[in-house]
């Protein structure tokens, strides 16, 4: 039905602005929704930039791992350890931030479900 209406010519009726109505949701609520949506978007945009390198890291680490058995100088092992420790520091931060956010997202989905039920009854 909607599709059909969109295919029809735009009538004068369609172009009329509606009568003023009060928003159904409070400004504060929408503000919170927007805040969260934008913050998740900021991270998603940044993630888009690291998506491919992030997929590559396991591969390069795997090939590094397979090379370790052929390392001949102990000092090279020092370097590898140092680099991997730095990696652990950064990746742990990413992981921790992602896990915290992810858990909260689950909680929000549960909360919206509960609220939906409340609104229905």
């Amino acid at each position: 039905m909607e599709r059909k209406r969109m295919r029809a010519r735009i009538t004068e009726e369609d172009l009329r602005l509606s009568e003023r109505v009060e928003p159904k949701e409070s400004f504060e609520t929408w503000q919170k929704v927007i805040d969260a949506a934008w913050d998740m978007t900021i991270v998603a945009v940044a993630y888009n930039d690291m998506r491919i390198p992030l997929k590559r890291v396991p591969e390069t680490l795997e090939s590094l791992e397979s090379t370790i058995s052929s390392v001949t100088d102990e000092k090279t092992l020092d370097v590898i350890e140092e680099e991997v420790k730095t990696g652990i520091r950064h990746f742990s931060d990413i992981l921790e931030g992602a896990r915290d956010s992810r858990e909260r997202m689950d909680r929000i989905l549960r909360a919206t479900w509960n609220r939906r039920v409340q609104l229905k009854t």
Binding site: V45, N48, D49, R51, I52, P53, K75, T76, D78, V79, E82, E83, T86, H90
Partner: protein
């Protein structure tokens, strides 16, 4: 239309070359070459070392942003002409000694611009403009000194071709501003302008008859730079040439785009897709890059932001080395670069100068790793 040939800049993965091939292909004796980066930051030192290995001389350097590469090339006696703004090594050596000595003893001829004057030349070069407007350099000796002009390198030959394809027919020109200084800030907005600058002496400037003989606001026009080859360093380059520079650009994007050809020295070559996921972070479009060479740590002894810091101890010692006898410095620099880049990186870092740990080669390089959250290595020991 005639049958289409694939232009060099459209070539796909065969832009990826070895260091020696890239230098051999694009840099010949006498080439007008523009080294990118700035002082200690993101200087394409691996390419610079390869030029020394291949002993390509008589070079014409057009450059903005610190003289570290020029210093090595002058030390190796490879430079003939220099079109520049600054020949110091900043905080480490106020004047790069080999460059200074070469100018004083007559081996190198030099033309000077101010940084913004040169910067605008790179902007003109980037956009293919015939010139760019400069409101600086007035009243100084830049206005009446022209080395290349005095050397007869400007203008046309009898057959109508340019005497030198990379030297403009004039160093600069002065015109009367057709808009009478209207665009200059602070501007006469209602209630004043919102710039931080307060002084605007245009009323006095309008009384001036300097340079043209007529009263009015003057403007200097500077010509573009048109180097044959620009060499730059970037952290990541896509396999077709899309280039992403992280941290300060220095003059790189303008200079790369101004040139006929550009060689980029990459810390890592990646897929185009990786960089195009976020195209607004990319610095140089693919078609300006003609050759890509992957040389991790190739920016040593300089700094590549977020990857590694400069080797302070090297530079500290080098400023002692470059004040030795000219022939000795020449021999030093040629010995220093070794026969190829890998041998160099595995051997020379930490070699021939005192460091706290005494490590050499790749271990030394890993000591210089930057903290990705700062861009440099916080607390790097920098003894004087």
């Amino acid at each position: 239309m005639a049958e289409a040939t694939i232009p060099t800049f459209m070539r796909g993965k065969d832009k990826i070359m070895s260091l020696s091939d890239a230098v051999k292909t694009f840099i010949k004796p006498g080439t007008c070459i523009c080294p990118g980066g700035f002082s200690y930051t993101k200087k394409p030192f691996a390419l610079a070392r390869e030029v020394i290995r291949q002993d390509i001389g008589n070079l014409f350097i057009t450059m903005n942003g610190g003289a570290s590469i020029c210093e090595f090339w002058c030390a190796a006696g490879l430079v003939k002409l220099l079109d520049t703004t600054y020949i110091g090594l900043e905080g480490i050596q106020p004047v790069a000694y080999s460059v200074r000595r070469s100018i004083q003893d007559g081996t190198v001829d030099v033309e000077d611009y101010s940084n913004y004057g040169f910067g605008l030349r790179t902007v003109a070069g980037r956009y293919g403009w015939p010139f760019a407007p400069l409101m600086s350099e007035f009243g100084t000796s830049f206005m009446d000194h022209d080395t290349f002009g005095k050397m007869g390198l400007r203008g046309k030959k009898a057959d109508g071709s340019w005497i030198h394809p990379s030297i403009a027919p004039a160093r600069a020109a002065v015109i009367e501003d057709p808009f009478d200084g209207w665009g200059l800030r602070p501007h006469a907005f209602e209630g004043g302008d919102a710039t931080s600058n307060q002084t605007n002496f245009l009323d006095q400037v309008r009384e001036s008859t300097a340079y043209t003989g007529n009263k009015g606001v003057k403007c200097i026009l500077v010509p573009p730079i048109l180097p044959e080859v620009t060499i730059i360093l970037a952290q990541r380059v896509g396999e077709k040439g899309t280039t992403r520079i992280e941290g300060i650009w220095g003059p790189d994007n303008e200079q790369a785009i101004s040139a006929k050809n550009c060689i980029v020295q990459a810390e890592k070559i990646v897929t185009e897709e990786e960089l195009r996921a976020q195209p607004y972070s990319n610095t140089i479009a693919m078609q300006y890059i003609d050759a890509i060479v992957q040389v991790p740590y190739g920016g040593f002894p300089g700094q590549v932001p977020y990857y590694y810091d400069y080797d302070w101890d090297f530079w500290r010692a080098y400023t002692q080395i470059n004040r030795k006898d000219k022939a000795e410095v020449n021999k030093y620099i040629r010995d220093w670069v070794m026969e190829d880049e890998w041998t160099f990186l595995a051997t020379r870092p930490g070699d021939g100068y005192p460091t706290i740990t005494g490590t050499k080669g790749l271990e030394r390089l890993f000591e210089l790793r930057a903290d990705a959250l700062y861009g440099y290595r916080p607390g790097l020991a920098r003894p004087l």
